[in-house]
């Protein structure tokens, strides 16, 4: 990294000086920041390896290979089954870890490139000196950057160096994937954790850049409600559908509409994170839904113009845009779709080409031009298009169903295990209700259609079957609020650490799991009612919004947006989910007065042992979700994945039955001791939502829980266990350190169990897993 610059000034004139041809050499000039630098500013790939190895010795990787072969180099394919090694010497365990690191690097690269683009764009719009002002209530503006990079950004330009650092680390991790390097799986896991931490960092930078530059809500708890769902659209207006994650194009459209007084004339709606970010800057922006809804909207042809940016977009979007006659605009280098580059062309010409059908799409890298072309084209083509006409009628659906031979090819490939032919059977008889019932389950992956030898348009038929519901689909979601305010941290720091708030549950990432709407909403509400802080972002936040109670209210309408007990906090897009980690860091900083600067290990140790947070990525699918999860893992935050998370190939499983794996220290006196087996796992894939809920509460346990905190947490644990498992948990003795921990309401029952198990009270240490952080360091450690 080059903090160091040598500069030649040919001419310089200010009020005080006038000089020419001076060479100035500048060393490592840092912004003023009186916090002392910790041991690990800008950690390199192996700097925090010891920390990782500590986590990995407690939570051992459990590998579920998706493939027993390796095809990564021209030596391959190699058969790695059982204990066979590949031609480079690698074994299957190491290969799994290598793939995890590779995919985590891809996810991180996405966020890094996104952040780079956004920062660059904001610097162009606002200038390099534009201050990072997140409002009066946010002083610790970039907790992750402070901790990891060791610097405190004051302006947009100040964040560029941190991205240089991030890109260098991503490159290193990617380099390590090359054939012929690590032969030990833990090394690759450490690299995955490292690149995951970089993912946290770049997301924070990207979101701060857009919050500041676009003036998105700055951590306001009472962010407004936005509309979500097809039913929220005024179908008489032209619709521009934004798909992807980078709102730059959408933001320019908002400007364009406002400038030309067209806000009333055009609907702007988005799919995936770009829609979150759209609603953060535009109160009339609509959210169509998460990734899993994309294909349904594409096939139904609801959009008059489709604008794609980057990440998690159907790769066949061009095909469907063409089939439904919607001009397609590609606005990102990451997803050009073979379209002709019109960036330098006159927008009028491009619009004419699209409207008159001479071309079906355009690649435009200038967001202002994207805006003009999208809006004008949408207004011009709308009159010619009729919504939903691409779906079959119920009659036609019945006829189509009759083609079905009940061969089950579709069912076999359906990732969410929908028994499609049953729906077809009913449809043959004219009963579309079974198909309609699949709507919430189906994630629109088209795999069934690809497998069907009878060319049955399964998704369209489901949509037709559920037509009436779709048109009514209209939900309220709280707009993404961005960071958590320092004042909120001050307020909740103590109840979190001392236990009145039993935990922070984060629902993040994708929603490609059957019934994720209902399941995630149900889980969220369970914990809202229990006074947990429930934080959401990305597709998960949308999915949760698609669930209404009997009164027609979504959870966002029922629970406040405060980062406080019983609050339902929508951070926004996936970029903004960095702020929940930021909040955990701020607890350490603001509440516990731990220094952040270059002090990763201490902060992570703090969170791991003290902040009862757990992330749930229920409908996981993407490499980004893997990076996000692996990132928070490094800070000691456990992640629960939906069952398809086994496709990521690796979990981190702790063994509460092996006390020796929980080695740590009592920070008060430096004494080595086995700590409690909490949090038990760092990555876990439960089978059902019921099991997930038990794990959510259990993974909020922390070594440093106060008696009151522990008592509350155990009360919820027992209660949830009884509610969903139907039994009293059998491991309660493991978590009761002394009588003060025992929930009062269940005291008798527990005491009986404890007696049966021969339970003895235990000392409650000031827990840490880093010897250096103890107060009486051993001689050897001290010598370092």
């Amino acid at each position: 990294m080059s903090e160091h610059q040598k500069v030649k000034i040919e001419k310089m004139k200010t009020d005080v000086i006038d000089l020419s041809n001076v060479i100035i050499e500048i060393g490592d000039i840092e912004k003023e920041w009186d916090e002392k630098v910790g041991p690990h500013p800008k950690p390199s790939m192996s700097t925090l390896r010891e920390w990782d190895f500590k986590l990995l010795s407690r939570h051992k990787p459990l590998y579920t290979p998706v493939c027993d072969e390796c095809c990564m180099c021209a030596f391959g394919k190699c058969d790695l089954t059982q204990d066979r090694k590949g031609a480079c010497g690698i074994d299957l365990t190491t290969q799994q870890a290598r793939q995890v690191a590779m995919y985590a690097a891809i996810g991180t690269a996405c966020h890094a490139a996104h952040a780079r683009h956004m920062l660059h764009h904001q610097i162009e719009l606002c200038g390099r000196d534009y201050p990072i002002d997140l409002g009066d209530n946010v002083e610790v503006e970039a907790p992750i950057m402070r901790t990891v990079v060791g610097s405190k950004p004051e302006t947009l330009g100040d964040m560029e160096k941190a991205l240089d650092y991030a890109e260098e680390e991503i490159t290193k991790v990617l380099a390590s994937i090359h054939t012929g390097q690590e032969g030990n799986h833990l090394e690759y896991e450490s690299k995955a954790l490292h690149v995951g931490m970089i993912d946290n960092l770049v997301k924070e930078i990207g979101d701060i850049a857009q919050v500041v530059g676009y003036g998105m809500p700055k951590g306001v708890p009472d962010a407004p409600l936005a509309e979500l769902g097809f039913g929220s659209l005024d179908r008489s207006k032209p619709l521009i559908l934004l798909i992807g994650h980078n709102v730059a194009g959408g933001a320019s459209m908002v400007d364009y509409l406002k400038k030309h007084n067209l806000e009333d004339k055009v609907e702007l709606a988005g799919i995936c994170c770009t829609s979150h970010d759209l609603t953060r800057i535009y109160d009339r922006g609509k959210i169509m839904g998460p990734l899993s809804r994309t294909m349904k909207f594409l096939q139904a042809g609801i959009a008059d113009v489709i604008v794609v940016d980057e990440q998690c977009i159907r790769t066949d979007v061009r095909e469907w845009a063409e089939k439904t006659g919607a001009p397609l605009i590609a606005s990102s280098e990451h997803n050009v779709q073979g379209l002709r580059d019109r960036t330098e062309d006159d927008p009028g010409e491009v619009i004419a080409d699209l409207v008159e059908g001479r071309e079906t799409g355009a690649f435009i890298l200038d967001s202002d031009k994207v805006a003009e072309v999208a809006v004008q084209t949408a207004m011009a083509v709308k009159p010619r298009r009729e919504k939903l006409r691409f779906l079959p009628t119920p009659k036609e659906a019945q006829k189509l169903a009759k083609r079905c031979t009940t061969c089950e090819a579709c069912h076999r490939v359906c990732p969410v295990d929908i028994h499609i032919s049953e729906g077809m059977d009913a449809a043959k008889e004219g009963d579309l209700s079974v198909l309609a019932g699949y709507r919430e389950l189906c994630v629109g992956c088209t795999r069934c259609e690809e497998a069907c030898g009878r060319e049955i348009p399964i998704i369209k038929m489901i949509e037709t079957a559920a037509r009436d519901e779709i048109i009514k689909d209209n939900y309220r979601i709280r707009v993404g609020r961005g960071p958590i305010q320092d004042v909120e941290i001050r307020k909740v720091g103590s109840p979190i650490v001392f236990g009145e708030i039993p935990g922070i549950v984060v629902f993040a990432g994708c929603s490609n799991y059957p019934n994720s709407t209902v399941e995630m909403a149900e889980m969220a509400e369970e914990f809202l009612k229990r006074n947990f802080i429930v934080v959401v972002s990305g597709c998960a936040a949308m999915e949760i919004a698609r669930h209404k109670d009997e009164d027609g209210k979504t959870l966002y309408e029922k629970y406040p947006g405060d980062f406080d007990a019983g609050g339902l906090v929508n951070l926004g897009s996936c970029l903004s989910n960095a702020h929940v980690l930021g909040a955990a860091i701020k607890v350490a900083n603001i509440f516990a007065k731990r220094d952040l600067r270059g002090n990763f290990e201490e902060i992570a140790d703090y969170i791991y042992n003290r902040v009862g947070a757990v992330a749930v990525v229920w409908g996981t699918y993407s490499q980004k979700a893997l990076a996000i999860g692996t990132g928070v893992n490094r800070w000691g935050i456990p992640v629960i994945l939906g069952p398809q998370g086994t496709q990521y190939r690796r979990q981190f499983i702790g063994r509460k039955d092996k006390p020796e794996t929980w080695a740590g220290f009592n920070a008060r006196n430096g004494e080595a001791m086995n700590l409690e087996p909490v949090p038990e796992h760092l990555v876990y894939t439960p089978e059902t939502k019921e099991e997930a809920m038990v794990w959510i509460v259990k993974l909020c346990l922390r070594n440093n829980d106060t008696p009151k905190g522990r008592m509350y947490k155990l009360e919820h644990y027992i209660d949830i266990h009884q509610k969903y498992m139907g039994t009293f948990p059998d491991d309660i003795d493991k978590y009761i350190r002394n009588k003060a921990d025992i929930p009062l309401t269940k005291k008798d029952q527990i005491m009986k169990i404890l007696e049966e198990k021969g339970w003895q009270p235990r000392e409650v240490p000031d827990p840490t897993i880093v010897e250096r952080l103890t107060r009486k360091p051993k001689a050897k450690e001290a010598g370092k």
Partner: protein, 173 residues
């Protein structure tokens, strides 16, 4: 290598595929195992209108197998009067790979029998045992799983139930 096409066509993970067998072979393997463990998943509550739970219990009883109740199956099994250990599937799979683990009944398991777990999920989990342990795996779900040492062909509910009955009866003999 003569086997049916796995239920999930892409479930094959490589060269090493398990065998597709009938109920007799499965029953024999369970019976002859040194110390089998029965892993019972959430599907027992729904499949065959809940009767799958009964078959699972019957097998456990007949063979006197320790049972790991995954997901939230514990009370369903308790209700049917057998002693089971609640344990997440990942926990079971991780422990089965640990040569030190003394099983649910004080000694290592050599065969893991699973029922009531989604095929994709189980196939992935069993691959972990296939590659990283000596434990043999048996699926008695109705889908063919290439990563199980033994699994049934892809069956209709009716035939599956017949198979389950056959397995139970064999074990009860």
């Amino acid at each position: 290598m003569n086997r049916v096409r796995p239920w999930v066509p892409t479930a094959i993970t490589g060269r090493l595929q398990g065998m597709t067998v009938g109920p007799a072979a499965i029953a024999r393997t369970i019976k002859e195992a040194d110390n089998p463990i029965l892993i019972v998943g959430a599907g027992i509550m729904e499949e065959l209108e809940g009767r799958l739970a009964d078959y699972a219990v019957r097998m456990a009883r007949a063979r006197d197998m320790p049972v790991a109740a995954t997901a939230h199956t514990i009370s369903v099994l308790h209700d049917r009067g057998i002693q089971v250990q609640a344990m997440g599937l990942s926990d079971v799979i991780a422990r089965l790979q640990d040569p030190e683990w003394q099983g649910l009944n004080g000694r290592p398991h050599d065969v893991a029998v699973a029922v009531g777990i989604r095929p994709r999920f189980l196939n992935n989990m069993f691959n972990s045992l296939k590659n990283f342990s000596d434990v043999r795996t048996v699926s008695i779900g109705k889908h063919n799983l290439p990563n199980a040492s033994l699994s049934l062909a892809n069956l209709t509910d009716d035939i599956w139930e017949e198979n389950l009955v056959e397995i139970c009866e064999y074990l009860e003999r």
